[in-house]
């Protein structure tokens, strides 16, 4: 629907459902807005239905989205968010034309749209990384820092803030999207805070000794950054459901 990949007939079906399902509509609008924000497209509506100016920076827009999200969650916000994304009023009686225009105008690439959806789905299924970050860091690091400082070592990273270059004084947004970058840097694309949920192909055989051996042996030939990343993944691997397979009895070929 975002990228005209959906057949016309199905588009119409979705559009009809959007017209009567406020919750779906709010969700759809947020996807659209997320996509637009990700691509740093100028939003059509600089002023949302709630009467709040959308900030010029990405952070502002994200913050705006968050507020809208909260509003949506609160109840009748679905319509508010919808208005912000589409730049139009989209009440329950909104006609198809109201939806067709933003569809054409936004033109979101398939990848980004799918990505946003996947991301949001994953947030409902798994631990929300950002909130986990925010909650984990704060208490622990203060102590670590204090001890380290007294020992006279050089502190490179001063926690608790994982919320890097974000505009200060925006705690609500920080909790929701820690790691979101607000400083666009020239030609470089804006870094994203989320992690693409890869299709989980993890099977019990994944961390069997054979594969672990291979990965460890391979890491010796990686650059230091890749090595750290590889070993971190191995250390952090979820052990749930893994059989304590003996070496040699499990083949990496089993891994699917």
């Amino acid at each position: 629907m975002f990228d005209s990949e959906l057949p016309d007939a199905e588009c119409e079906l979705v559009a009809r459902r959007l017209a009567r399902d406020d919750q779906l509509k709010g969700q759809w609008s947020r996807y659209a807005l997320i996509g637009a924000v990700i691509r740093e497209e100028p939003l059509r509506a600089r002023r949302s239905a709630a009467g709040i100016m959308v900030g010029s920076g990405v952070a502002g827009r994200v913050a705006q989205t968050l507020e809208l999200d909260e509003a949506a969650a609160a109840g009748e916000g679905g319509r508010v968010a919808g208005s912000a994304a589409a730049g139009q009023r989209s009440g329950a009686g909104g006609s198809l034309a109201h939806w067709a225009r933003p569809v054409a105008g936004l033109g979101i690439a398939a990848g980004v749209a799918a990505l946003s959806i996947l991301w949001l789905q994953s947030r409902t299924q798994t631990l929300d990384p950002s909130s986990a970050l925010a909650s984990t860091v704060v208490p622990a690091d203060g102590r670590v820092l204090g001890a380290a400082a007294s020992a006279g070592v050089e502190i490179v990273v001063a926690p608790p803030s994982l919320v890097d270059a974000r505009a200060p004084g925006d705690p609500g947004a920080s909790v929701g999207r820690s790691g979101e970058q607000s400083s666009a840097a020239g030609s470089m694309r804006e870094p994203r805070s989320y992690v693409v949920p890869m299709p989980s192909k993890q099977t019990p055989a994944l961390t069997t000794p054979q594969l672990a051996n291979y990965v460890v042996a391979h890491s010796e030939y990686s650059g230091p950054m890749a090595r750290r990343s590889t070993l971190s993944a191995l250390v952090a691997a979820d052990s749930a459901g893994e059989p304590a397979a003996a070496a040699g009895s499990a083949a990496a070929a089993d891994v699917r």
């Binding site: 631990l127 970050l133 490179v156 001063a158 992690v195 971190s232 070929a253």
Partner: protein, 362 residues
């Protein structure tokens, strides 16, 4: 924008003490020291040569794990401890050539040992001009990250056979404060974000002791004293993804394995892929022979069977790359046994961008 960029570059040059004349705003020269590749080189050196103790978040697949890394270089010996602070409780402890992997969830300890200690920085990828054809290296104007002056360096692949990186590098220490692994479309696959990082001149030995009890654990070691013997079959790849070259191949013992495994290393200068070839085994089912893929964080693996040998490619590259390479591996030629040496490193002239730490001594 241009003025901002020029001002940024000017301020860096001021910091570096190179008062270069930057009159022309349109063509801002990048000093070699300030180039993205120079930053990456410095970061690699910092990661391998400095003493540090840090806590970071490893984020992938929507999951977050807190890990601690302690790294020390003392009298030329590297000690490193990587421990999961939540979840599995796994610990990896490296001392010199030995890497001990404590896997409490498996009641198992793997001991991986390199045959000898090589020069510490020997296997850092070097970013040469060939690499520049495969990746786009960029650096942003200086920015602030977590209260520090930092550089954002991006390494963007020019095709889908490799991953890219975005790295926030601390200006003063060249340590990476945050790393994102991205696919060729810039989507983040994995993040590592330091929540605390301290550089310290002295880190006691006690910091490198495991915290867990290994009572009742199964220890799997490779017997490095017995010779691995000569390779009876040399392996090679018919075709490789653009930019990849084979750097070395040799035999190596795996902990717990009875037969030595042929280990081939391929690299494009940034990413590397290992191919392991195991001798035919008894009782391999038809289903196993179909092979399969696995993901482990940023690493992908693909396993297949060639002439009864199990061929597995592993690397921090997209799944299609390991699949491609694994599917191209063939026995190049049979060698008379006993062969002259178990290791057949390529001539150094063919290894411009990547030198294995051990010089291909396996």
């Amino acid at each position: 924008m241009l003025r901002q960029a020029a001002a940024g570059v000017l301020s860096i040059c001021g910091l570096l003490g190179t008062a270069a004349a930057l009159a022309d705003e349109a063509a801002v020269p990048v000093t070699p020291r300030d180039s993205p590749r120079a930053w990456l080189q410095r970061m690699n050196e910092a990661l391998t040569s400095r003493n540090y103790d840090g806590t970071f978040f490893h984020v992938r697949d929507g999951r977050v794990e807190t890990l601690r890394i302690i790294h020390r270089v003392h009298d030329g010996e590297v000690r490193e401890r990587l421990v999961s602070l939540d979840g599995s409780g796994r610990e990896f402890i490296r001392q010199g050539a030995e890497l001990v992997c404590y896997l409490p969830d498996q009641q198992m300890v793997l001991v991986e040992r390199r045959a000898e200690d090589g020069p510490l920085l020997g296997n850092l990828p070097r970013f040469d001009d060939g690499t520049a054809e495969l990746y786009d290296f960029r650096s942003a104007e200086p920015l602030r990250f977590n209260g520090r002056d930092a550089r954002l360096i991006s390494v963007t692949p020019r095709d889908a056979f490799r991953y890219g990186y975005r790295i926030w590098i601390d200006e003063r220490t060249a340590m990476p404060l945050k790393t994102q692994l991205c696919d060729d479309r810039g989507r983040v696959i994995e993040q590592i974000v330091f929540s605390s990082l301290a550089l310290s001149s002295v880190i006691p030995d006690s910091a490198f002791l495991p915290e867990l009890s290994t009572e009742g654990f199964q220890w799997l070691r490779q017997d490095s004293r017995s010779p691995v013997g000569a390779a009876t079959v040399a392996w090679g790849a018919l075709r490789l993804p653009p930019g990849f070259r084979m750097l070395s191949q040799g035999l190596q013992r795996m902990p717990g394995a009875t037969q030595p495994v042929a280990h081939l290393v391929f690299s494009d200068g940034v990413a590397s892929v290992s191919v392991f070839v195991e001798s035919p085994r008894q009782g391999v089912s038809a289903e196993e022979r179909r092979g399969g893929a696995a993901n482990l964080g940023s690493s992908a693996a693909y396993s297949t069977f060639v002439d009864g040998y199990q061929v597995t490619a592993v690397g921090e590259v997209p799944a299609k790359t390991v699949r491609f390479i694994a599917g191209q591996v063939r026995a190049a030629r049979s060698r008379p046994s006993p062969g002259p040496a178990p290791v057949t490193p390529l001539p150094s002239a063919q290894v411009p961008a990547f030198v294995p730490r051990d010089g291909g001594r396996r």
